[in-house]
């Protein structure tokens, strides 16, 4: 298993090199006027050229890419073009916010999705069908629409949950959770469907299997068949899919952070994209990729626990 995990990490290194390369490539295809953005309307051409030079923007993209790559190995991701702060400084306080959001969503859609998926295989066809339809609703409702509606109901009308802002866990655990409830719900909604559907599919396959029949015929009660045997066998393929769903959730977090004004990586990404603040976008792309890699590694560790056939050798 160690070898498997090791291979995955190595493969991910390729990711960490390729993704920034892609962003540099895209950026090199279109010249941008970052200096003008910083200096505003009244800037003279001299001032703009000077700032461009100061930021190193007059160098070709390849050179800048390699400089960036080398710097990243030392933990230096460059400085923001706009505020001149180190990218790592700008992004550091935001990582916790984004992680709280996406890991929270991961937990919610995994647990709720699994639950709904299992419940939808209920003997009672009507109940199963209803749950199936309800979980299908999750994917149909766009998370940005859901977010706005949630704000409208909970914050504007009912004034129950805070509409904005994030309270770090260190400050107050209850406020932290309160500030995350609506965003996590908005983000997890679609993922719940995906997990529920996958779980349901796999559960139906499992429940149809000869071993379930054998166990049942020899006396194992239905409850154990569903929640112990079928679920255990269904969990493996479902977890495999979690990684993919998680990447989708990471994308979704960008929109959700914007709606709920969470100071995470996602909201910074939109802003920096608008300002053509490339180093910050690079940094965010890198951090996102790292998060994806870590989650995939964790999934790789979990799968052999669930699926004995994959273990060892």
């Amino acid at each position: 298993m160690l070898r498997r995990v090791g291979l995955r990490v190595l493969g991910s290194l390729a990711l960490l090199i390729v993704v920034p390369a892609i962003t540099f490539l895209i950026q090199s295809l279109t010249p941008s006027n970052v200096a003008a953005s910083i200096l505003g309307l009244g800037a003279t051409n001299t001032q703009i050229a000077a700032l461009n030079h100061q930021l190193g923007l007059d160098q070709p993209a390849i050179v800048r890419y390699f400089e960036w790559l080398v710097g990243s190995l030392h933990g230096d991701l460059g400085n923001s073009y706009v505020t001149n702060q180190a990218v790592t400084t700008i992004l550091a306080p935001r990582i916790g916010v984004s992680l709280s959001l996406v890991i929270g969503a991961l937990l919610v859609f995994t647990i709720v999705g699994l639950l709904l998926g299992v419940l939808s295989t209920n003997q009672n066809r009507a109940v199963g069908r209803i749950i199936d339809i309800v979980s299908s609703a999750g994917i149909a409702i766009p998370n940005f629409w859901l977010g706005v509606i949630l704000i409208g109901i909970f914050s504007v009308q009912l004034n129950v949950l805070p509409a904005t802002g994030y309270v770090p866990a260190a400050t107050s655990a209850s406020l932290w959770i309160a500030s995350l409830v609506l965003p996590v719900v908005a983000l997890a909604f679609g993922g719940i469907t995906a997990v529920a559907k996958q779980t349901r599919d796999q559960m139906l396959i499992a429940l149809d299997s000869p071993y379930i029949r054998s166990l049942r015929v020899n006396g194992v009660p239905d409850l154990s068949l569903t929640y112990r045997h079928a679920l255990r066998n269904a969990a493996g393929p479902t977890v495999t899919v979690l990684g993919l769903i998680f990447v989708g959730a990471l994308s979704g977090s960008v929109v959700v952070e914007n709606i709920f004004v969470l100071p995470g990586l996602g909201s910074q990404a939109v802003q920096s994209a608008t300002q053509h603040d490339l180093p910050v976008i690079q940094g965010i792309a890198l951090y996102f990729t790292i998060i994806v890699v870590v989650v995939n590694v964790l999934i790789d560790i979990v799968i052999p626990i669930l699926n004995p056939k994959v273990r060892a050798a």
């Binding site: 493969g11 991910s12 390729a14 990711l15 895209i26 279109t30 941008s32 339809i133 299908s136 609703a137 999750g138 994917i139 149909a140 409702i141 766009p142 998370n143 940005f144 629409w145 706005v148 704000i151 679609g190 993922g191 599919d201 396959i205 299997s209 000869p210 071993y211 054998s214 166990l215 020899n218 006396g219 194992v220 154990s224 112990r228 045997h229 255990r232 066998n233 899919v241 993919l244 769903i245 990447v247 989708g248 990471l250 994308s251 979704g252 960008v254 929109v255 914007n258 990404a269 994209a273 053509h276 976008i281 965010i284 996102f288 990729t289 994806v292 890699v293 995939n296 004995p308 056939k309």
Partner: protein, 641 residues
């Protein structure tokens, strides 16, 4: 943005191997599903509506009415107006054009690139395949939004560039399906044959791969459409990919949000349109997937109602005592009867063999006894065990005898054991269910059972997982599982068919030993007369859903009392004469839909007369009364030598 994983489900994969059903059958199945059909109609209506926007939109989408801004629904503006007094309905219609066009662009890119690349790499294999797989993995791990943000900001909000990028990022979904199909087909032998004959790869792909592929591809494309619409909506919401004043669905949601305090209604037309369209795509995909599976499975063409067996048939006077007594057992699936009025029984310490060809109903009979047929089956008759009729017993009572009264082992031991749990785990669970014993007692009993079935090193074997066992070991473990409840009847359905001949003998010895040592009654279902001769005391021969003969093993082999039994014995290669053609039985077993009124064996019987075909034949005791036969010419057989 919605986040959904596109997974190629087992149904897709099965479809790829099988060669997925005719298109018409699939379409018919699709139409039968109300939700999916309604979704298709809805989507169609939406597409027509937005295409026809220039004609049907009541207002120009840019026409402002500054005196009626932010109105709710009115007669003039059924969906209200926005901040500049523009008609929301018209903006939805016109906005749909750009929105759906964008979705179409991305979809087309993903479809074309994915299909072509997938087919090529799947078919060609080798390094191309490996490299492509790595690339696909990388693409799937990229959080798409970051790339899209960059593309939009650097192309100054060019929606075409954005949709192109989105399409490229979605290629893996389609590529995997295409690749899977190409690979599946590539390994088929008829492809090698085609290659030998000289068919070009392109032609092979076109003729053999593409027809198999369209089902899963369309399903995945539909789901992809849903995802792309959601992503694009989110981007438009963030003001990316829209060039004002042109309306877009996602942009309208953002506009509604800025006016949330003044006119909350606005949030609904735009959001609901997106949500319903996405839902439509998903429902269509689901419906298509279900329809493809349904079309592929054996079509249950509606049967004419079979004439009820006339009351005459009640003269099945065969009746035996035993620990398990099955009488007049009939099994119907819907209108179709597959097992008719079976009478068998097995006594304590006795081994009953049920013999017949595939499709004669022997497994269904066993399943009926075990209550594992599912809801689609109607079971009539009595199954008496321990003085109680199981067929009319409560669910609790039935559950109570599972494993402790009647247990079962089946054909393929490798799939009868739960692959995710160790032998110890499964066996101990069964032991605890029946014995409610504590940890130590359970462990001891487990060792006892594993020893009993002849496994050396029971502790070591118990720690293993099913995939780590050989066929013979797995079957022994299955038997141990069946024995955990100390059943009085063991139903063994083809227990040796999947095993090597050498192992077969061992398993049969084991069964014999269990019968002798513990007095267990065994019902052995098999198509192999040799196994019957080896192990059974009594035999019931089934043909086309009925028991045609019931006798002791000696009597049966010495003098079969039914033409079918006779033919079976004669057809066994072991008794064949060298140099002469094998005596196969001409004709085929009639399917349940085609059972004649009279004797089911009529078409193939060498001694059949017209009388045989005219009315149902009863199963009656014959000879010395210790055997039964369903043949009106039985005298000829028993008399004949």
């Amino acid at each position: 943005m919605t986040n959904v994983a596109i997974t190629s489900s087992a149904a897709d994969e099965a479809g790829l191997k099988d060669g997925g059903g005719s298109r018409i059958r699939t379409l018919r199945e699709f139409v039968r599903r109300p939700l999916a059909f309604a979704a298709a109609i809805f989507l169609f209506a939406v597409i027509i509506a937005v295409v026809a926007a220039p004609i049907i939109a009541p207002f120009d989408p840019l026409a402002q009415d500054l005196n009626h801004t932010l109105s709710g629904p009115t007669a003039l503006h059924p969906l209200g107006t926005d901040q500049l007094g523009r008609d929301v309905l018209s903006r939805l219609l016109w906005g749909g054009r750009t929105t759906l066009l964008g979705v179409g662009e991305a979809l087309a890119v993903a479809f074309v690139v994915g299909l072509v690349a997938g087919l090529i790499t799947g078919f060609v294999g080798g390094t191309t395949d490996t490299v492509t797989s790595r690339i696909v993995e990388i693409v799937m791990a990229i959080p798409a939004i970051v790339v899209l943000l960059m593309v939009y900001s650097l192309t100054n909000n060019d929606s075409n560039a954005g949709m192109l990028a989105l399409g490229l990022l979605s290629v893996p979904t389609i590529l995997r399906v295409a690749r899977g199909a190409a690979r599946a087909v590539r390994s088929e032998t008829f492809i090698s044959a085609s290659e030998v004959v000289g068919m070009s790869k392109a032609r092979i792909i076109r003729r053999h791969v593409l027809p198999n592929i369209w089902g899963p591809i369309i399903v995945n494309t539909a789901v992809l459409a849903a995802v792309i619409l959601g992503v694009q909506g989110g981007l438009n919401y963030l003001n990316l990919g829209v060039k004002p004043p042109a309306p877009s669905w996602g942009g309208m949601v953002a506009e509604a949000q800025t006016n949330l305090q003044l006119q909350p209604f606005l949030i609904f037309p735009s959001g609901l349109t997106i949500a319903l369209t996405i839902a439509a795509f998903i429902l269509i995909a689901d419906g298509l997937r279900d329809a493809t599976t349904a079309a592929r499975s054996r079509s249950t063409t509606p049967q004419q109602a079979q004439p009820p067996a006339p009351a005459l048939d009640a003269t099945d006077t065969a009746h035996r005592e035993g620990v398990l007594q099955v009488q007049n057992l009939s099994v119907k699936f819907g209108q179709l009867e597959v097992v008719r009025r079976v009478n068998v029984s097995v006594a304590k310490g006795e081994t009953l063999g049920i013999v017949g060809e595939s499709g004669c109903g022997k497994s269904v009979t066993a399943s009926a006894i075990l209550d594992s047929l599912g809801r689609s089956a109607t079971v009539t008759g009595t199954i008496v065990f321990d003085g109680k009729d199981l067929n009319t017993a409560t669910r609790k009572e039935r559950a109570g005898i599972r494993g402790s009264g009647i247990a079962s082992i089946s054909q393929d031991p490798m799939v009868s054991l739960d692959p995710s749990f160790s032998v110890a785990s499964q066996l101990k669970e069964l032991i605890k269910v029946h014995d409610h014993s504590d940890k130590r007692a359970t462990h001891a009993r487990m060792v006892e059972l594993l020893t009993e079935v002849g496994l050396p090193n029971p502790e070591a074997i118990a720690r293993r997982y099913p995939h780590e066992l050989s066929g013979g070991m797995a079957q022994r473990v299955s038997i141990a599982c069946a024995l955990a409840g100390r059943p009085r009847v063991l139903i063994a359905d083809e227990p040796t068919t999947a095993l090597d001949v050498t192992i077969q003998g061992e398993i049969l010895s084991l069964l014999r030993r269990l019968r002798d040592e513990q007095g267990m009654a065994i019902v052995l279902i098999t198509h192999d007369l040799g196994v019957v001769a080896d192990l059974c005391d009594r035999v019931a021969v089934m043909y086309a859903g009925e028991v045609v003969e019931d006798a002791t093993v000696e009597a049966l082999f010495a003098q079969p009392a039914h033409p079918y039994t006779r033919a079976l014995i004669d057809a066994n290669p072991i008794v064949a004469t060298r140099g002469e053609p094998l005596k196969a039985i001409p004709g085929v077993v009639p399917a349940p839909a085609d059972w004649p009124i009279g004797c089911h064996f009529y078409d193939r019987c060498p001694i059949a007369t017209l009388a045989c075909a005219q009315s149902p034949i009863a199963l009656i005791p014959v000879g010395d009364g210790e055997r039964d036969s369903r043949c009106i010419h039985v005298d000829e057989l028993i008399g004949a030598k």
